[in-house]
Symmetry: C2
Subunit: 199 residues, 2 copies
């Protein structure tokens, strides 16, 4: 047991529950916080609680929103017949940032993974099927991550949407722009080779 004041130990303990914050970082953060202006600490605390309270998932696509329906789903200028399926709202933002895609999204909020025990019912899949059923969807783009769970989830979705007879596509695999062949992993190189395009 160390000799810090009780409240400081409590704060260190709470901070070390955050992801990526180990014991040492929690200690550093706690020392920083108790030395900052009281007003600033209060602002951080309030922002935290308010964000947690007011941000919810879009009832249509699962994207983060402060309203019932997110800004993308309610944007009538978007192409509504294509749904891009992503694992998280962060992935959605990554795709939005390329400013190319004009369709809608569906945020799974996870991937199917036997390791963590996440099954198809634990992610936002049923609502995707409902959307395909109820709306006039022409294409589903599977943009889950290019790793084991992401691939498995994409495969699973492609199988369950097969009966709907819509186009299902997957993001291309290949070399990263600016990367070095010499340092590219074998799997990526293999995918790049298999997906080669005629010039």
């Amino acid at each position: 047991m160390n000799k810090y004041p009780k409240e400081l130990n409590k704060l260190i303990k709470e901070l070390s529950k955050l992801p990526g914050i180990g014991g040492k970082s929690a200690q550093r953060l706690a020392f920083h916080l108790i030395q900052r202006d009281e007003e600033e600490v209060e602002r951080l605390a309030t922002t935290m609680v308010r964000a947690r309270r007011n941000i919810k998932k879009c009832s249509t696509c699962g994207n983060l929103t402060e309203d019932e329906i997110c800004s993308i789903c309610s944007d009538q200028s978007r192409e509504r017949r294509t749904i891009c399926v992503v694992e998280s709202a962060k992935d959605l933002i990554a795709i939005e940032n390329i400013k190319q895609y004009r369709g809608l999204y569906h945020v799974l909020g996870g991937v199917i993974s036997p390791i963590t025990g996440t099954g198809p019912d634990d992610i936002n899949l049923k609502s995707l099927l409902n959307r395909i059923h109820d709306e006039d969807v022409e294409e589903i783009i599977l943009a889950t991550n290019p790793n084991v769970e992401g691939e498995a989830t994409a495969m699973f979705i492609s199988r369950i949407v097969a009966p709907f007879n819509i186009k299902v596509s997957r993001l291309a695999h290949g070399l990263s722009i600016g990367s070095d062949l010499e340092y590219t992993d074998e799997m990526t190189l293999l995918k790049a080779m298999q997906g080669r395009k005629e010039l």
Copy 2:
């Protein structure tokens, strides 16, 4: 400008003001927080504000405390004629953890550094002189860090306390236990050589 909900962006901005938390970490933390139980987020927020409000500096030594006088200064079983001078409360804890030192402390709350513009008046030095003046002090152990600022601060203190005619010592420099001569920096090796002890 990204497309996150406004409150989420605010939270990311507040979090990225924390030391060691870059943009990506702030984003990850924010996503984590808005997905955690509301109760847990409230507990973190309250702990933060409460710690900031209730933890102050010991009016005698500058150590962190919830009371007027810290637990070490008010512990009458400690050896009151030795004062170990440290840069921060974290250093104090590090020394307490070796369970060897039974004297008192003085926390400077910084070091003299021309680079950051921190002078002798900006750290908790005057109160150290007052203590030496008012109390029956026999030894001052200078335990500032073994770097340029720490050494300079130690030198400065040793000079200003010289008129009091008390013993002034400095923590020993040398090889870390378990370290490798091959990988030890030259300065440390030099200090270890100069400070060698006869067996």
